[in-house]
Amino acid sequence: MTDAPQPKIQLNDVHKAFGPKVVLDGIDLSVARGESVVIIGGSGTGKSVLLKCILGLLRPERGSIRIDGEEVVGLRGKSRERVLNQFGMLFQGSALFDSLKVWENVAFGLIQGRNMPRQQAKDIAIEKLAAVGLAESAGDLFPSELSGGMQKRVGLARAIASSPEIIFFDEPTTGLDPIMADVINDLIVKCTKELGATALSITHDMASARKIADRIAMLYKGRLIWVGPAKDIDHSGNEFVDQFIHGRADGPIKMELRA
């Protein structure tokens, strides 16, 4: 009998509340090395909060978050930096630094986080920009000079620049037209496969989820109400999942609307 391989990311009974509002109510999730898991769910269900808890940007009140078996809740200083060095993240709004050129944004983690010489980091940045389909000349522009789709590509280039073991994608296709969204999805699949990275994404774009996920989990009212292979999402047997993936107003999920 052999031991099961250790998950890359392991969450056990994670709770997070903001005042009286409970956002995460006992999350259990395991992501294997090299796997791509997508968390779906409506707006305001706590998807971004979950990612921020794993990154240490928010601290859960209760529960355990392990990366490679190491407990990361409450890590500070050098220990936290060491763990964060394994991560790359594509933010919903790209979160590019306005005051820096595109190449400096991509090379930021290499220069500041790993003390790499600027010229060497610039060469890597240009290489990563090429990997996401951007020309070298784009490197000398500022983020405000780019379209939304190009900003997403730069954000993706920054997320993969330091060849991270884990990449988080926060609403990677929100605000993009369907064709650009598909381009970004293809790039996400290509980049994560090439790096052999573990990916955890959050989205409510089902086309994106189907394309980039090995497994899909649905978050509703602070709990993961369904977790399964992406190919099973259309016959999950869960009425909440069915309503969500078909975008129906009628069903067990009620929008909290006030007249």
Partner: protein
């Protein structure tokens, strides 16, 4: 009963702000003295605060010196003490007016800009992005600005001292008819190093406070454009109030006896 509850809530909110500001200050100051350092960012902040504030501080100082000469001449002539104009101008400018007025002008220019920049970074997740790129936001955003404010506002005030006294000289000599050499000798006669040192000490404290308020309100801004706007206003108002409070405290420490 409702009134008591409201007062209690306001008091608790105040204590919460004081606690959060104290923790913010402690963390920020600890990052000023601990490596890694960011010399490029420190230099950039120093240029932004010191060099680009020179015109506004210079204008403030020259007109303050000119007005002070006119006002003190008109007031002192009532008891035949016009000869004290040069002394009043130099003591008022170096001890009080240059640091306070320069501080208030820099608070409006730099404090607001810091709060807006850091606040925008907060609401667009750029500060979270810094953390995920293994860069401590305190070390990268806050510490260089605090250090630059602490170092550069005294330099500005030193320049303001000179320009303010020069403004008084212009009015004294060309409008009020003072003899140039006697005006200059009167200026030096009663000036002591402590007068300038007290002004520069105030300036260093004010510079630190201006940067602290700009960074603090920007760092904790919430809720998009409205939140950034509120952070900007709060940073200027709180810096101005702190400048006035600490002006009294430092004056009492230097000249209280």
């Amino acid at each position: 009963m409702e009134f008591v509850a409201t007062v209690g809530r306001v008091f608790l909110a105040f204590l919460s702000h004081v606690g959060r500001l104290s923790a913010f200050t402690g963390t920020a100051v600890s990052h000023i003295v601990r490596p890694p350092f960011y010399p490029r960012l420190i230099m950039r902040s120093m240029v932004e605060i010191g060099y680009y504030s020179l015109p506004v501080v210079g204008l403030t100082a020259v007109f303050t010196g000119m007005v002070l000469a006119l006002q003190s001449y008109s007031g002192f002539s009532r008891f035949a003490a016009e000869g004290a104009v040069a002394t009043v101008v130099v003591l008022s400018v170096t001890r009080e007016l240059a640091p306070v007025l320069a501080g208030l002008m820099v608070a409006g220019r730099i404090g607001a800009s810091m709060a807006a920049e850091i606040g925008t970074m907060r609401v667009t997740e750029q500060i979270d992005a810094l953390s995920t790129l293994s860069t401590n936001p305190f070390k990268y955003l806050v510490a260089p600005r605090l250090l630059a404010g602490f170092l550069m506002v005294p330099c500005l005030v030193l320049v303001a001292d000179i320009i303010g006294v020069f403004g008084g000289y212009i009015v004294g000599v060309y409008k009020l008819g003072f003899n140039p050499s006697s005006y200059i000798s009167r200026t030096w006669e009663y000036l002591e190093p402590l007068d300038v040192i007290s002004g520069l000490t105030k300036a260093a404290v004010f510079g630190f406070l201006i940067s602290l308020m700009g960074c603090y309100h920007g760092y904790y801004s919430r809720g998009g454009a409205q939140g950034v706007g509120a952070a900007t206003t709060n940073s200027v108002v709180s810096a101005a109030i702190l400048i006035l409070v600490f002006n009294y405290v430092i004056t009492a420490l230097f000249f209280g006896k």
